[in-house]
């Protein structure tokens, strides 16, 4: 019986972790290409959550179906942000990029606080209390759907970068910006597109997240830090690494919350982060630069 407990907790942690991993994927894409750490990442994710809450509230749309709409909006936002502000900071020192994105994060966070207030808001779905039995596992339908959707989006992203022309161009940019410019790629445009894609991905992760937790503005800084941890653990710039890191952190959170107390669960994540930074600073799947 105890083993069943652990398996169930690990499985639900894994499904949560897939959504975390998707969010971190967005961060990893932006950092891997534009070389800017998006300190407003959690804020964008919570914006995605509120998007799903609004769409569900007004037209009763399921968060999984509202995800594409949110992705479009956040793509436009990220694209504009890179074009308007971030692009002129690409060559500047890290601390300046940090301050710029911190300012943007502060603006987004407090705009949401003003619009929606500090209380949590949730999304009601008809399958909210359903469970699915898989062997010894008893999985929540919401978790299963969120995890599956995260996998689909991640797979689409991988396919985009591997097979499509713009995806290949973006990878060229990431490998060697100067070389990419020499062969005639529009770097600024590709950077804007990348920032847009990263934002869209984290927006989708936010929409899926509303299936698992209630939306409130205060989640934003937590998610920013969580995404950082995952990306570092998995390896900066490595897309499979971000997913793997997400799953690891999701499972360690779930197990720590069960074995210790829930308030200690993020301590566990930080411990994982510190160990990885020290023993394998490039991350689990990262390459040493």
């Amino acid at each position: 019986m105890p083993l069943d407990y652990y398996l169930n907790i690990a499985a639900s942690g894994l499904l949560n972790g897939l959504v975390y991993g998707l969010a971190a994927l967005g961060l990893s894409v932006i950092f891997g290409v534009v070389r800017v750490v998006n300190f407003a990442h959690g804020e964008m994710m919570v914006a995605g959550m509120y998007g799903a809450v609004l769409l569900a509230g007004f037209i009763g749309l399921d968060p999984i179906l509202s995800a594409p709409i949110i992705a479009l909006v956040l793509f436009a936002f990220g694209w504009g942000l890179q074009r308007g502000l971030v692009n002129r900071f690409v060559e500047r020192p890290e601390h300046m990029q940090f301050i710029l994105l911190l300012g943007i994060a502060t603006i987004i966070l407090n705009a949401m606080l003003m619009l929606f207030g500090p209380d949590s808001r949730n999304v009601q779905v008809p399958y909210g209390f359903d469970t699915v039995e898989v062997g010894p596992l008893l999985l929540d339908a919401v978790r299963l759907r969120a995890g599956a959707a995260a996998i689909v989006v991640a797979a689409a992203l991988f396919a985009f970068f591997r097979f499509s022309r713009p995806g290949k161009a973006i990878r060229a940019c990431a490998d060697n910006p100067l070389g990419a410019r020499v062969v005639g790629l529009n770097i600024d445009g590709l950077y804007a597109m990348t920032f847009g894609i990263g934002s869209a991905v984290v927006g989708i992760a936010g929409a899926l997240m509303t299936l698992l937790v209630d939306a409130r503005p205060q989640l934003a800084p937590e998610y920013t830090l969580l995404s950082f941890i995952i990306v570092i653990v998995g390896g900066l710039g490595s897309l499979p690494g971000a997913l793997l890191g997400g799953v690891l952190i999701g499972m360690s959170e779930a197990l720590a919350g069960f074995l210790l107390t829930p308030s200690l669960k993020s301590l566990f994540s930080y411990a994982v982060l510190i160990v990885v930074l020290l023993l394998r600073p490039q991350g689990l799947l990262g390459r040493r630069s």
Binding site: V37, L85, R88, R92, E94, H95, M96, F98, I99, L100, L102, G103, I104, A105, T106, I107, L109, N110, A111, M112, L113, M114, G117, P118, P217, P221, L225, F228, I229, I232, L236, S263, L264, S266, L267, Y270, A271, L273, I274, L277, L278, L279, P281
Partner: protein, 329 residues
């Protein structure tokens, strides 16, 4: 610095010295906040500004200093003037440990910054669960009513605290200047600009970097001691929070990283800006939670877009306070 700059600076110092005699309690309390941020900003500047080590977890050293001195005072009756040495040692030990791990394993740039965040967060969660120090319910230094000014135990009026923090700011300014023009200071600048070149000419990167962390964390801990005895309460969620770490570094960045005056000027810009916004919002009656922080964010973006090197270097050139551009100390 030109004669004009020195005169202006001396005038400002004089003004700060007599401020409590003419200003009311509110102004003194705002000035105390300004000076506190100026002080910890200077302490942070030693790491980032002088040696190029981006720490985003300086709340850790504030918190360790605050908790160490407060615990000694409350649990053992040891006063702050003895306690501050312990506080500095504790913070320094933590700083050197993080620095050791980071530099030993070649953790750089963004990764080092994240390492500092991680340790601050670990401390926050750890102190939340430390019942001996009040846990998440907070740790309080008893307030002994009106016993007059007792400098020995750092108990007394806001004016007393004002002069203590003013002394700290001036001390840190002097120390920063001495350090910057010392052998170690030149090594730091060399490392900040070009670590490989510095190493090639024989600078011991590891030692110089550890020294920067040690100085910075010890100075920051003093700010923590002050905070503990000024506010008499400590909550891990505030003291160690990521938000606090960010508040600490903003003045230096806004004022001008790596300059001596920058952190002080930055604090004089940001804190009154915040207070002014609060005032405007109250007067207009248009009070929404988050509005003030929203403006704060906008101000941050505007400053970093238009004055990326900080306000001080630009101001110093405009007012002809320094001789040559770039030589802004």
């Amino acid at each position: 610095m030109t004669r004009r700059g020195i005169v202006l600076l001396a005038l400002l110092g004089l003004l700060l010295l007599v401020a409590p005699l003419v200003a009311d309690r509110y102004v003194v309390s705002v000035l105390t906040t300004v000076l506190w941020f100026a002080y910890v900003g200077q302490a942070w500047n030693v790491m980032m500004g002088f040696s190029g080590l981006l720490s985003l977890g300086h709340a850790l050293y504030v918190g360790l200093g605050a908790y160490a001195s407060a615990a000694l005072f409350v649990h053992f009756g040891i006063g702050p003037w003895l306690g501050l040495w312990v506080a500095m040692l504790v913070a320094m030990a933590a700083g050197c440990f993080i620095g050791f791990l980071g530099f030993r394993f070649g953790v750089r740039g963004v990764h080092f910054a994240l390492l500092t965040i991680a340790f601050a967060e670990v401390a926050r969660i750890g102190f939340d669960h430390m019942q001996w120090l009040g846990g998440s319910g907070g740790f309080f230094i008893p307030v002994a009513g009106d016993v007059g000014n007792d400098l020995l135990n750092l108990r007394g009026s806001p004016t007393l605290f004002y002069y203590v923090i003013l002394a700290l700011v001036l001390g840190a300014l002097a120390l920063s200047r001495v350090l910057l023009h010392s052998r170690l200071g030149y090594q730091w600048l060399a490392i900040r600009e070009e670590p490989e070149a510095a190493e090639a000419v024989g600078v011991d990167l590891f030692r110089a970097r550890i020294a920067a962390v040690a100085v910075s964390s010890a100075l920051t801990a003093l700010g923590g001691v002050f905070q503990a005895f000024y506010f008499n309460n400590l909550f891990p969620e505030q003291v160690f929070s990521m938000g606090r770490s960010i508040e600490i570094i903003l003045p230096a960045i806004v004022g001008g990283i790596g300059t001596l005056i920058g952190p002080i000027l930055g604090a004089f810009i940001l804190t009154p800006l915040g207070e002014g916004l609060t005032f405007l919002i109250e007067v207009s009656g248009f009070d929404l939670p988050g509005l003030k922080q929203l403006f704060y964010g906008v101000a941050l973006v505007v400053i970093v877009v238009f004055r990326p090197e900080g306000v001080w270097p630009w101001l110093a050139r405009k007012l002809r306070l320094v001789r040559a551009p770039g030589e802004s100390a």
